[in-house]
């Protein structure tokens, strides 16, 4: 596994430093111009839009170009079309890394969204799986819905112009119930989403219907926390002994807890007062992973 710096900065430098430089006529600046135009054109203006803007303002292009510089700040808040962004990123990958033998996972703080067939609007996503796969850290906070009372409180206090203080207070009191920006639990959650990318890469379904599995596609923060963050987990990764999810009640000293209740479209009520099982993959996906590792002896670590 190779950990690299910011994706676009890394590949721009790589292209510029290769012999001969892998850049279009006009050099690295021309490549940056092309990229910044494309990136600005992937911004989604409104949730109900049918696609990204494609017609960015000059200043939006200029901002994207500045963001291609090393060390530049990249505040988030705009929604980028996840599939478009994936295509732009893929266009920068060198030929030798574009095969199935390589898995690229891009962690970004930018918000990603997709509008799937049959959907009437864009939805923010934590990850967009493909080649490369994109995982959004801001998406972990913003995409899965927070507890209902957060929105009720926020709306009522915003009407009084007190949204800011209320948000901070609420986050402090109820922070354990949802991920916030710079949340220390985010790193652990990111591992689970990286696993989804791995499963997609090996040709399996990237998501799982089991709420206790790392591959569960969470729509609520409580689901995300239940699937990805359940307390101290030594050596989170693909090792079977760490990855297995024990049967209810099989954890030492734990009693079988009530089954989580979930009705489509409503916030799940997961038990919070019982010991939750160790984090990991469900048995079905663990077996799938084992089979794949046997057929493709690749040393893999997260």
């Amino acid at each position: 596994m190779e950990e690299r710096g910011e994706f676009f900065v890394y590949h721009l430098e790589r292209r510029g430093n290769s012999t001969p430089p892998a850049v279009p006529t006009g050099g690295i600046e021309a490549l940056k111009d092309r990229l910044s135009l494309s990136l600005a054109g992937t911004k989604v203006r409104r949730p109900t839009d049918h696609g990204p803007s494609r017609d960015p303002l000059p200043a939006e292009i200029a901002v994207e170009k500045r963001r291609l510089d090393p060390g530049g700040r990249r505040p988030f808040g705009f929604l980028y079309d996840g599939y478009d962004l994936m295509q732009i990123a893929a266009s920068l990958l060198p030929m030798e890394e574009s095969s199935r033998a390589h898995l690229h996972i891009i962690f970004t703080n930018q918000l990603l969204g997709t509008r799937e067939e049959g959907e009437d609007r864009y939805h923010a996503r934590v990850c967009v799986l493909g080649s490369p796969s994109l995982i959004s850290t801001s998406g972990m906070v913003e995409a899965p819905a927070k507890p209902r009372e957060f929105y009720i409180l926020k709306r009522s206090l915003e009407a009084l112009g007190m949204g800011e203080t209320a948000e901070v207070e609420f986050a402090r009191e109820a922070g354990a119930r949802f991920l916030d920006h710079d949340d220390p639990r985010m790193e652990e959650a990111a591992c689970g989403y990286a696993l989804q990318a791995v499963f997609h890469w090996i040709g399996a379904e990237g998501f799982c219907g089991d709420q206790g599995c790392r591959l569960f596609n969470a729509h609520w923060q409580r689901e995300l926390l239940a699937a990805q963050v359940r307390g101290p987990v030594p050596g989170v990764g693909l090792a079977p002994e760490a990855g297995v999810m024990p049967e209810p009640g099989s954890e030492p000293g734990s009693e079988p807890g009530p089954e989580p209740r979930f009705e489509p479209g409503s916030e799940p009520t997961l038990p919070t007062d019982v010991p939750l099982p160790a984090i990991g993959l469900c048995r079905c996906h663990l077996e799938q992973l084992k089979r794949w590792k046997e057929s493709a002896p690749i040393t893999f670590r997260l």
Partner: protein
């Protein structure tokens, strides 16, 4: 014997008229005209004037400060998030930490100090003055057309008051959500705006600061006008973002002015 020196009414009138006219004539041409005397406009004006630039701020109201006097629910406490408390330190505005990273200050104290800081730096004001139009020269914004605010509240048929124009090297649109200058350019088909952005995130102060800059040759957008121009997600009364956006607008303006000077 009276406490105050005796002066005639005509002397008072003469002092007002000559003082106003002298300044008005001087500022018919300036380095920068800032439209809007809210926190971002005042901050930008102060920074630029401190660096020796000739700055005029046009404000449609009689009072300066925009919404910086009060926070939510007409309560006169304003909140700012780190690191914008550094601006409060710079201006000598007292504040307290409400929770970690969130600071609260007295609106009247903060606002009056900011206004005073802009005045002390040398900013001049045309209050009770509305922005009506832009002056375009060589494909650049090169000035603004202004008029008295009160004429807007009089019946149209009796207010055929022609405006006047001011020339400048740069204009800063700090008119808040209205983005008056940007909207005028859009009305003329000279630029596009995105309009209010969708509420993707809970706040987006960082984006407002990042997107503060030249939106059209000769026009810099600052403060909440940035939101309207680029569709930055809406946010609450976050004054820190306004102050830092004002600072960034000044930095961008200085770069452009230096570029024009060396060209």
């Amino acid at each position: 014997m009276t406490l105050f020196h005796p002066v005639s009414e005509k002397d008072v009138t003469r002092a007002i008229v000559s003082g106003f006219m002298k300044q008005f004539e001087q500022y018919v041409e300036s380095d920068l005209v800032i439209i809007g005397a809210g926190p971002s406009g005042l901050m930008a004006g102060r920074e630029l004037a401190l660096r020796g630039r000739k700055v005029l701020i046009v404000e449609r109201n009689n009072y300066l400060g925009g919404g910086f006097w009060i926070g939510g629910y007409l309560m006169n406490k304003v909140t700012l998030r780190a690191p914008s408390q550094e601006v409060l330190d710079e201006l000598g505005i007292p504040y307290e930490e409400a929770v970690e990273g969130l600071y609260v200050a007295d609106g009247p104290h903060a606002c009056s100090k900011l206004i005073a800081a802009a005045c002390d730096a040398g900013v001049k004001f045309a209050n009770m003055t509305i922005f009506e139009d832009i002056v375009i020269r060589d494909q650049r914004v090169a000035g603004v057309v202004i008029n008295w605010t009160p004429i807007t509240s009089l019946p149209r048929q009796i207010t055929c008051v022609d405006p006047v124009a001011l020339e400048c090297t740069l204009v800063i649109d700090a008119t808040g959500h209205d983005a008056c200058v940007v909207s005028k350019l859009e009305e003329r088909g000279m630029m596009k705006t995105v309009g209010f952005g969708a509420m993707w995130v809970e706040r987006s102060e960082d984006l407002v600061v990042e997107y503060t800059g030249e939106a059209y040759p000769g026009l810099i957008v600052a403060g909440m006008a940035v939101s309207t121009t680029y569709g930055v997600p809406r946010m609450g009364p976050t004054f820190g973002g306004m102050l830092l956006s004002g600072k960034k607008a000044a930095e961008e303006a200085l770069k452009i002015l230096e570029g024009i000077k060396t060209a």
